[in-house]
């Protein structure tokens, strides 16, 4: 459901042994590359978690703060104009989303509640930040933007399939629906920067 969309096991069962080994090798290489590039693991477990509105608010704020933190690393480490512009946009837009979410929960008198999803987001983000901080120059730029593509794909998927459907409060649902096109635009922007970097 989330961002590691590698071939399903059934594909291997129907193939001859040689092809199967090749496939496994390719998949293994892809997984290694993916882990190297993305540094991330799925936001959520295979089973869709059931979240209350205070928990959804917490996930929303955490997910945005995580991307601001990545952007701040990029703003310190990168010298690439496209990366810097992208990171500035991420920092500003995601802060805008947090401001909207905080204003909403205050108005609704709701306290965001820490939960398994927001904890996992933070734990994964720490690992990613360590890996990003260990890189420099073009390696950093590629790693940062690769992670941004993967992260935004994951967050778009989570907002679409978990947070919006499970939101009970109409205003919270409305805010998430407003945020979704912003996230999709960020994803398109990240993919464009990534494509231009590899030219």
């Amino acid at each position: 459901m989330y961002w590691h969309n590698f071939p399903a096991k059934q594909t291997f069962l129907a193939k001859p042994v040689k092809t199967k080994i090749m496939k496994i090798k390719k998949t293994s290489a892809a997984l290694t590359f993916s882990a190297f590039l993305l540094f991330t693991v799925p936001l959520l477990a295979q089973n869709t978690p059931a979240l209350t509105d205070p928990e959804i608010a917490s996930v929303a704020v955490t997910a945005n703060q995580v991307d601001i933190n990545y952007a701040n690393i990029a703003l310190k480490k990168s010298k690439n104009a496209s990366i810097l512009e992208f990171a500035q946009t991420m920092a500003k837009d995601h802060q805008g989303v947090i401001d909207q979410a905080v204003a909403l929960v205050k108005r609704l008198n709701v306290t965001p509640k820490d939960n398994a999803v927001s904890k996992k987001l933070n734990a994964d983000a720490e690992k990613t930040k360590q890996k990003l901080n260990s890189k420099s120059g073009k390696d950093f730029d590629k790693a940062y933007i690769g992670n941004e593509v993967a992260y935004h794909k994951a967050v778009v998927s989570t907002v679409e399939t978990v947070l919006i459907p499970q939101s009970q409060n109409a205003e919270l649902k409305g805010l998430l629906q407003q945020v979704l096109p912003v996230l999709k635009t960020h994803l398109g922007h990240a993919m464009m920067v990534e494509s231009n970097l590899s030219k």
Binding site: T89, K92, D93, G96, V97, Q100, Q178, P181, V182, K184, T185, H186, G188, H189, M192
Partner: protein, 112 residues
């Protein structure tokens, strides 16, 4: 003969005046509105006459700008939520948001 000539003259004059009026109506500049919402310029493509004014209004909660795409000849600067910006279009132009570079729009000049 004189009456016929006078009628023909009046008819000619009437045609000329009508043509002039029609021409004048076409050149009166008007204002068009492009709304920025859900991270899109709406409409993304707009047909206008030379000298028409375009007003962009930002309805999103994130900032946007309107920037000429090819050479960045003009730009609105940042528009926050609720802010608008006007520009008189003189030629067919592609533009984009330089903050969210995948957001694009086009103004097409269809006549004087």
């Amino acid at each position: 003969m004189n009456i016929k000539r006078s009628i023909a003259g009046l008819m000619f004059l009437g045609i000329m005046l009508t043509a002039c009026n029609a021409s004048t109506e076409k050149t009166i500049p008007i204002k068009h509105v492009v709304e920025i919402k859900q991270m899109l310029f709406q409409p993304a493509e707009l047909q206008v006459h030379t000298g028409d004014t375009i007003e962009w209004i930002n309805h999103d909660f994130v900032d946007h700008d309107i920037t000429e795409e090819k050479n960045h000849e003009w730009s609105s600067g940042r528009l926050t939520n609720g802010q608008s910006w006007k520009y008189v279009i003189k030629k067919t132009t592609s533009y984009f948001c330089s903050i969210h570079v995948v957001m694009k729009g086009k103004i097409i000049i269809t006549g004087e």
